[in-house]
Symmetry: C2
Subunit: 645 residues, 2 copies
Amino acid sequence: MGRKLKQLKLKNIQITDKLFGEYVRKVSEKIIPHQWKILSDKLEGADPTYCIHNFRIAAGEVKGERKGVVFQDTDLYKWLESVAYCLDGGQGKVYEDLADEMIGLIGKAQEEDGYLNTYYTVNAPEEKWSNLVEGHELYTSGHMIEAAVAYYEATGKDKLLNIARKNADLICRVFGEKEGQIHGYPGHQEIELALVKLYRVTGEQEYLNTALYFIRERGKEPNYFLEEIKKRSGFQFFPEFDDYDLEYSQAHKPPVDQETADGHAVRAMYMCAAMADLAEELGDEELLEACRKIWNNLTEARMYITGGIGSSGFRERFTTDYDLPNSTNYSETCASIGLMMFGQRMASAAGDAGYYDVVERALYNTVLAGINIEGDRYFYVNPLSVVPEFCTRHTYMQHVKPVRQKWFSVACCPPNVARTLASLGQYIYAQDEDAVYIHQFISSKASAHMAAGAINIEMDSELLQTGCVTLKIQASGRGKIRIRIPGYAKDWKCRKDQEVLEQQVSRGYLTVELEPGSSLIELDFGVKPMWMAAANQVREDAGKTALVKGPLVYCLEEADNGNLLSQIYVEENTEVTEGKPIEELPGDVPSLIYPGMRIKNKETGNCLYSPLETEKEPVMLKAVPYCMWNNRGEGEMLVWQKVKA
Amino acid sequence: MGRKLKQLKLKNIQITDKLFGEYVRKVSEKIIPHQWKILSDKLEGADPTYCIHNFRIAAGEVKGERKGVVFQDTDLYKWLESVAYCLDGGQGKVYEDLADEMIGLIGKAQEEDGYLNTYYTVNAPEEKWSNLVEGHELYTSGHMIEAAVAYYEATGKDKLLNIARKNADLICRVFGEKEGQIHGYPGHQEIELALVKLYRVTGEQEYLNTALYFIRERGKEPNYFLEEIKKRSGFQFFPEFDDYDLEYSQAHKPPVDQETADGHAVRAMYMCAAMADLAEELGDEELLEACRKIWNNLTEARMYITGGIGSSGFRERFTTDYDLPNSTNYSETCASIGLMMFGQRMASAAGDAGYYDVVERALYNTVLAGINIEGDRYFYVNPLSVVPEFCTRHTYMQHVKPVRQKWFSVACCPPNVARTLASLGQYIYAQDEDAVYIHQFISSKASAHMAAGAINIEMDSELLQTGCVTLKIQASGRGKIRIRIPGYAKDWKCRKDQEVLEQQVSRGYLTVELEPGSSLIELDFGVKPMWMAAANQVREDAGKTALVKGPLVYCLEEADNGNLLSQIYVEENTEVTEGKPIEELPGDVPSLIYPGMRIKNKETGNCLYSPLETEKEPVMLKAVPYCMWNNRGEGEMLVWQKVKA
């Protein structure tokens, strides 16, 4: 019982990676100041968000109308969380005063009893907790609590933590199975994992209990949401949810009975992350088994090769097994971040590094694709095939943007990418009493304290180039290093101080015993470009192949290969050459070069349909990492290429 | 100026066709009684439509609340129109009394000044004409007028025609450019083509003027719709239209300046049909040229090979050039009926039979697919590739049904199919002073009167089998027959009384001079199965081929070929054999048999993604006409098959 693995403190990790270092730096340099301007309505040309303004009204500092979406407060909370991680990592010191000022403002906006939500406090004080389906009160509190925990851990300051506790205490009083309590649960999950975090930093058992209550109560009969909707006689914020589908918010049956990844993908992932947390903290095998079922369904039938999830552009949600359209899908950046959170917790709860294969897939592909290399534009939606002129507004393609956007009216993704990058270290390193765990191969320096003493690690990763990783280790005692061996490393080798290690891999980990002093671990994961295929039931990818190398999925871009990419064919077993990295792209990651052909139909004037008569033309193709697409202007992009039959 | 071609009277046409005869019979046998039950809320298990009930309230016969969609009245009007065509064709006599009774009811529901709309009369009398964007008042009147004209022509009874005139006279007073008139136009076009029909039967010039006014006023600056929405401060019936896109209703610029087929496909087609009518009646070259531009864009870049139109499942609309997704598209049955209407009018206005190639494509494929062979189930949406388990509700596939449905809450398609089939003769025959025109090759008997005397035609069409058509003609004078030579008939032959005719085809017509007495015309269109390809810009169809024979597009069904149809490849130039007609399907139409292969990926347990390793297997394939798919149970269907590269 209790937590098995703990992440290393961010202050003890320094990211030095050629690729990720670039992106992480953008968080404090670009994203945080940019997002601040947006929150405070100081960005020229951008629509006002009213975010800070709303807090000032709720705090009684100014008079006016509270505006923006019902969960607009979360923008500030996510900003604070990102600032906290930056501070923890030794960056963004310049924002600390501003953060403290905002925390003061949040405190003033909090009501006497701990209630905190500018929409309901200002606009609808009589309607608190009456619209759990849409109102996002618990979701908003969750993000506030996450920010509070992060800020406390980064700075040691407890003002926001106390605000969070007071709010969480209220939630624990209001919700529960006792008489007089509301027997409900959030429309958008988030509070659950936040309460677990708050429990971990405060030790307050009630937070864990209430998190568990929300998971256990969810989806029971008679259904709370349906009763609530009936009582309210309709939808207030989102009229399009008329004819509500309980699967959308995973409320169609209790989470422990769910066997497939259903509904809104971000909600599903936040819920599953909390379930895995609770399974670990409580040693609850039933919860863990439920998580495993959903995880298996998700990764065996409903996930893109890029780690994107949510096949439906309409309602940002899962559909059904093997339904993985490449151009109309949603694959929200936030959903893949949720997938990373879920996988990280599953690895810890189940004690298996294999889950990090999926975390890595999501991180290196969809999550990184969510932001441009300058750090000031974002994708919300991440298709695997884009034809820019087909991305038309007011149509079925309305959600797909062919170029990254400056911001969004519902701006969950940019700050979510920011907080993920700013806290990247948590996905690289973890520890228990005896060992430090290495889950990702991202160049960095880290230090930790184990029972046997201190340990310093310097990881130099060439994973994306040669597939080799070296670990320079200084240990003051006899600890262990457990290194995840990725699923794609079929032919890996490891040497310690020049000597080949022949250990077995157990639950995805190679365990290396350390003696006091310095040691050098050299890993070669035998990473080569590979042509991948999807399961036969994935109709969309039948007769197609995707090129991967290690964790990276590659794609073809118009910039390198011209347009009409759907005409391109490759032969099975085509040999791939590693080309020079593209100059404009960061991280020194090679492009991949290979021969293929274009097959087109003979042109016949303006005829849309004419007798089949094809022409073949050999071509040389150049693929680049999917995560870096659309950093060189607008153009077509394609992951799944046709295989010459 | 004035009309060039007139359709033959339905009473002078008798459809004897093996295929269409089956469907046409269903209209009076099944559709009309079935639809009547629905309109009168007598169908067990079906949700009430309130259609007749609403008229009884408006007529003052009963008290109660007027319910259903705002344009619910049109269900009765379309039913009446279908009844009228059946009566005209000598069928459905048993419904005439009921129709007369309904016409009486409609008369009682009409207000003193001619206004006729149960929603506004009962629920919102103060709001008449205030919501042209959504209110469908003019649309509803249009369908009433069409029914009135049809009923008058079929029966000679003028009660409904007089109701229609009174309503049309009101519309002509209310709308127009004069001071005090509303300078607006309908949100959903339909009144325009109805007013032209009413003009043709009454000779009242004002109807033509008002139809022209609606077309000419549409899309002018300042935009009437935007002003109206501002005044109403929002959307009343369709809140999802917030952030209104003027293109949706073709109101973004004047129709004469539009160069592409945009927005809601049915609205676009009804508008274009009226434009073509007006172009012909007024000899207006500007209107005709605008029609030509839209037609060319539509047929050269935005139409499926099945004659389906409207690529976007969201909002039932056009998207952009070459964006033709095969599984998520809308391709509403009604839109293809609209395309038939537009094409028919263009052929007449431009004097070119070529337009009927598209009419035929739409009729034989998408329109016929809209109804099952029993005549009691319907498709609203017509994709070209279906995997039943992927058609999930509450997702991006919500609109796609893998099996035909009994009815729809917005039930435009079933009665639209009914009135099209019941008036099928109008698409087969037309005439002018000198000639009878043959536009479709559907077995039938027809008679007409030309300047030179009477003519009787007996058409025996084997178009779908041997590609041969014979015409037995009895003429009392020296008229002409103009026969459309279809675009697919590259190698046609014609003999008249055993003698080969060598005439040139002009504007798509072969002209045959007739002497008094009997003659036998034998046509052989050289129809063979053909492998077709789409233009290279159609990304969705790259590397794929569709099998057609004459006007019919063929498809693969799971019933004949197993599932996972996306694994199927055919070689270029694969020889196709004509197989036996499928026993369960009507019309004695051959199936098509050919060799192909299945290429699948090697199975690797539960892995969603694994290294590419394919296996090939030769298969024999059987294709059936697309219009008849899903008449043998639920299963996969595929039009565009992969070509072995």
